[in-house]
Amino acid sequence: MFACLYHPPRSTTSRSGLDLINTLVHLAHEHSPRVEVHGPDLVVMDVHGLKHVWGPPREMGERLRRVAAERDLGIRVAVAGTKMAALLATQGRCELTIIPSHAEAEALSTLPISVVKQLSKAQTSILGRPIRTRRSSSERTVGSVALSSRVVSVLMLLPVVQRWGVRTLGELAALPANELFSRLGHGGLEFQRIARGEDSRPLVPEAVAERFEETVTLEWPIEGLELLSFVLGRVLDPLCAHLKKRGVAAERLRVRLTLVSRQTHERTLRFPTAVSDPNVLRTLILLDLDAHPPSTGIDRVTVVADPVPARTRQFSLLERAVPSAESLSTLLVRLTVLMGDQRCGSPALVDTHQPGVFEMCPFAPKSHPPKHEQPRVGTGLLSVLRRFRHPVSARVTVEHGYPVRVSTLQPNSANGRVVTCAGPWRSSGRWWMPSYSVWDHDEWDVELSDGGVYRIFRDRVSKRWFVEGLMD
C-alpha cells in the first residue's frame, strides 16, 4: 500500500516552498521510512506492513490529516495499492481517499482525465529546481525522481484523447489496448496504464542523511592524551563501522571535548583524503590535540564526521604502488608536527630566474606507469648543487677583478685559496618590485684549495659576498 500526501495550492497555510516540502517529508518519515518526493507539495510513502502500527488505511489516513492539521497544513491523503493510483486520487476533490488493493482502476474510473494534467503540473512546477529536504544530505531535483514516472511523457497525448470524447480515466482504461496502440503507439498504452493506476517502477525512497556522531560521557574526568586515546578508541570504532557500513568516509572531523570547567574545546580536522580507519583517525586527533591540548580535564568526548563517498581504487599490475592516501595523511601530519609547517611536501619550481626559489606543494604522488619501459641507465652523472638555503656570508679577496681567496666563519663551509674560477655571470631581477625583493648578483664558480667547488656571488646591492652552494 502507498499513501500520497498532497498539499493543494489553494489551501490556506503560512508555509511555502522549502518549508512546506520539508514539513511534508518530515511528516511522511514519521510514519514510514520509505518516502519519495514527487513535487514541492506532493509526497508518496510506502505503508506496506504498517497496518499493525498505524491501523487500517482509513485510520492511518485520518491520522495523517490530523497530524498535518496540527502543523497548519491542510492536506489531501490517498491510500491505494499502487503509487500511481494514490497520486491520481489526491488530484480529485476528496480530502481522504482509500482505494482497496486491486480496485485501483475502478476507483479511478470516475475521475476526469484532466487530473493527469494536474498531476503533471504539480510535478513539473519544480522541474530542474533543486529541492533540499531537511533529512536529505544532498540536493536533488524532482525531475530525476518523479518525472521518470510517465505522467509528463504522456501529457502530449491528452488533447488527442480528449478530442476522441474521452472524459474520464475509466473511459480511457476501457479502450481496447491494440486499437490504442495502433493509433498512439507505446505512449497510448502507457497512458492507459496510468488511467488504470498501474505502476511502472517501484518507489525510490529518498536517501536519509544520517548523522555520523558518537559521544562518550565519562564517569570521571580524564586528563592527558594517553587516557584520551582509549576513550577515542571507544568513540571511533563504532563511528568508523557506521561510516564503512554506509560506504562513506570522513572528510572532516569535529572533535568536541566538554571540559570540567563547562567550557567546550572544539577542534576541526580536515583531511586531504577521506578516511574511515579508526586507528588513522585516532592518531590524527591525538596529534592535533597534542599541538592544541585542552586546558583542563575532559568530561565528555563527541566526534562528528562529515561523510563523503569512500575512495575506491583500482590497482594495476602495470603501475608501481605508491603510499596509500590514508597512510600519507597520517605521515604528513606526523612529519608536520615534528618538522614544522611548510617543511614537508613536494617542491615545485616557480617561473622565475631567481636562484633558489621554489614552492612547497602537498605530496600526493599519483600511480602511473613508468615513463620508460626500460629502466633509465647510462645517462651519466649530472652535477647537482648542494644549496645553502641561507647563503653563507663570506670574505672574498679580489685581485685584478678575480676572487683569489674565500673564507667564511663556518668551519665546514668554503675556506681556502681559489685554484680555478669561472665567471662572473650576472643575474638580476624584480627591479620593478619593492627593494627587498630585488636581486642583482654576480655569480662565480670557484675551486678552492680544499678541493671543493663552490658557487659564490657578490650581491651588487649590498656589495657583499656570499657562498650560495657547493657543486657536489
Binding site: 597512510s327 615534528l338 620508460h372 645517462t379 652523472l381 665567471g423 657547493l470 657536489d472
Partner: protein, 264 residues
C-alpha cells in the same frame, strides 16, 4: 716421530666434512633468526630485488644496482659527487614511477638542479630540516632520525634517503649505534632502498653497499681564460664496498647540468 699418512688424510677429510656440516648448521640457524644477510655464502639477490642507480658504470660495480630492503650509504668529502649520485638514484626511482622520501637534515636540496638531473619533483616527499649553527646540529640530526623512523613506517616508498652530508662528525658520533641497525631493520624485506649520504661511513646493512666517492678527484673546466672558462664537472675515483663482494674501483664523471650561459 712417524706419522700415519693415511690416518692424517682420513682425519683431515673427516674434519673438513664436519666443518662444512657445522657451517651449514650455523648458517641455517642464522637464517632462522633472520641474521643470515651478512653471510658471504648467501644467495645472490634476484634482479627484481635490485634497482638501477641510473648510472651504468655504478650499476655494473654494484652487481646490477642497489639492493631493495637494505641500507646503503654514499660517502665522500665535499664536491665528491655525493649529491649527484643521490640525485641520480632519485631520478631513476621517480622514472620507474616510485615515490621517494628525502630527509634533508640541513635543508640543502636544490630543486632546480635536481630537476635538471632528471628528478620528478612531484614524486619526492621532501622533509626539510633547517640550516643551523654547528652547536644546533645534533638537534637537526635527531629530528631527521625521527623523521626517518616515521617515513619507514609507511610502506611503498621506493627510496628513502637521508642526507647527513653537512653534519659535523662529532654530532653524528653522538647518535647511538643502534640507530642504523634500527633503520636497517625497518626497511628489511621491503621494496625500499635506504640510502644515507654522509661525509664518513656510518652504517649500512649487511646486504647494502657503501659507495665511497672522492678517493681522488679532479675538477674539469673548459676554456683557458677566466672569461671563457666554464665548470664542466668532476672526475671522481670511486670505491664500492659490500659484504659479499670484493671492493671495486671505478671512475665516475659528473657533468654540469646547467644550460649554457653567457659571460658579461
Amino acid at each position: 716421530m712417524e706419522i700415519d699418512q693415511p690416518a692424517e688424510l682420513r682425519y683431515n677429510r673427516r674434519t673438513k666434512s664436519e666443518m662444512n656440516t657445522n657451517i651449514a648448521k650455523l648458517e641455517s640457524l642464522l637464517h632462522a633468526k633472520s641474521l643470515g644477510d651478512s653471510l658471504v655464502s648467501s644467495r645472490l639477490l634476484p634482479v627484481e630485488r635490485l634497482a638501477t642507480t641510473g648510472v651504468s658504470e655504478l650499476d655494473k660495480s654494484l652487481g646490477g644496482g642497489l639492493a631493495r630492503g637494505h641500507l646503503s650509504e654514499v660517502v665522500g668529502p665535499p664536491s665528491s659527487g655525493r649529491t649527484s649520485v643521490l640525485a641520480a638514484v632519485i631520478a631513476a626511482a621517480t622514472d620507474r614511477g616510485e615515490a621517494v622520501a628525502l630527509i634533508d637534515t640541513f635543508d640543502n636540496f636544490d630543486p632546480v638542479s635536481s630537476q635538471a638531473a632528471g628528478v620528478d619533483l612531484s614524486r619526492v616527499l621532501w622533509v626539510r630540516g633547517r640550516q643551523s649553527a654547528p652547536r644546533m646540529a645534533f638537534h637537526c640530526i635527531d629530528q631527521a632520525v625521527k623523521a626517518v623512523g616515521l617515513v619507514t613506517q609507511t610502506d611503498r616508498f621506493g627510496v628513502i634517503a637521508v642526507d647527513f652530508a653537512e653534519a659535523p662528525a662529532q654530532a653524528l658520533r653522538r647518535l647511538p649505534f643502534t640507530t642504523w641497525l634500527r633503520l636497517a631493520r625497518a626497511i628489511k624485506g621491503s621494496e625500499t632502498i635506504g640510502i644515507v649520504v654522509a661525509s664518513t661511513a656510518m652504517g649500512r646493512s649487511a646486504g647494502g653497499h657503501s659507495i665511497v666517492l672522492g678517493v681522488s678527484r679532479s675538477t674539469q673546466w673548459s676554456g683557458d681564460a677566466t672569461q671563457n672558462r666554464v665548470f664542466r664537472g668532476i672526475d671522481i675515483d670511486t670505491r664500492v664496498e659490500s659484504t659479499r663482494y670484493p671492493s671495486y674501483q671505478l671512475r665516475l664523471k659528473t657533468h654540469d647540468s646547467r644550460p649554457t650561459t653567457h659571460h658579461f
